[in-house]
Symmetry: C2
Subunit: 244 residues, 2 copies
Amino acid sequence: MTPEDRRTPPAPNVLITGVTGIPEVRRGDNIADLIMGNFELQDFDVVVVTQKIVSKAEGRTVTIDTSAPLEPQLEAIILSESRRILRRRQGLFITETHSGYVCANAGIDQSNMPTGTIALLPKDPDRSARRIRDRIRAKASLQVGVIVSDTFGRTWRCGVSDVALGVAGVAAIVDLRGSRDASGRELTATQVALADELASAAELAKPKDGAIPAVVIRGISPSYFRESSVAGEIIRPYQEDLFR
Amino acid sequence: MTPEDRRTPPAPNVLITGVTGIPEVRRGDNIADLIMGNFELQDFDVVVVTQKIVSKAEGRTVTIDTSAPLEPQLEAIILSESRRILRRRQGLFITETHSGYVCANAGIDQSNMPTGTIALLPKDPDRSARRIRDRIRAKASLQVGVIVSDTFGRTWRCGVSDVALGVAGVAAIVDLRGSRDASGRELTATQVALADELASAAELAKPKDGAIPAVVIRGISPSYFRESSVAGEIIRPYQEDLFR
């Protein structure tokens, strides 16, 4: 290592690539196979898959009666998918899902779905992520992370961004407590929502028309990969929450 | 274009690179020059700069009396930097800053700062971003986006993630209302918090020790670049907010 190398370590580089060529997903499809058939994965890749194709593959969809009024049907589905309603304004419900996520309308929606069909969130998004990860590992002997992502609104801030619903193989939260900054002071903002940042980053390579339902992120530190980590770690415990 | 090309458009690719070699920033330093001196920018790059070096360059720091108790001094600074206190628990304040951002402790903190020095948020982060953008444009004739980022906690979800405090040259929010999904249905989640997603993505190439205070994101659609767009667009109007 020359002195020059010591002064300037190599720039960290992260590459985000959309996986093209995935056909319309149907119930029973194997998402890991669809991704591996269209993209050459490597060790320490993180695969970000939209909730929508996971729900389709798992049959987490509901058919509604298009001849009857839509709103009461949607409301019934939202209530059955929620364990608590936090706020309600016109057609918008802010709910806590059975998995513990706080989001609009219990995460159900019609976009990128056939007419008359509503997508629900996967029953157990961490299990969905783990299944995809396990299949990739079994088939290709690769250590990868898998994130099932969805698009959520936020308090205080306009617009939506993608977050992690389910996680396997990569840290949901990176805990840096005890580590120090460049001047030796202990860091304060120390629990980094890595899985959410990965989900947001993936969105940059994914047009909203649903044509690219999976994205691969390459260049994440191998130290962030975990045998077991679940998106459930991201859910803020009720008693620690200042706004519920 | 062959039929094959039409079936599979090129994979969208986004590259995130940390800018190494930026020295400790001091009051009066020109951040655009520091970045351009260490990285060869191109048209349609987005430069994400941490709030911390912007505050240092702008002299937005406060010296505290290290022989006196810390907490009352911090509290006084937090109150003077806030226009409203939303919640308070032990040493933690959730405040609305004078710029309208809701965050912990009015965004002030000591990490990556010399002992006895507190960094405040820039007075007008959009103006800070615009100054950097204008300087890059004047010096290199490049069309770039600039984001001043900070690390915020979130309601409902554990961990922190990076968000946009100031924006110039690139859309803070991409408005897709009226556009359609692959099956022709109008999209529902249509206002994408692009600037926040860019800030989150940048975090992936930026260790928390502060050694890399700027990141370049390449591969964002040229259609997302704007002459004027401000992070203020991200602030949810008080009357639309369901949780304040």
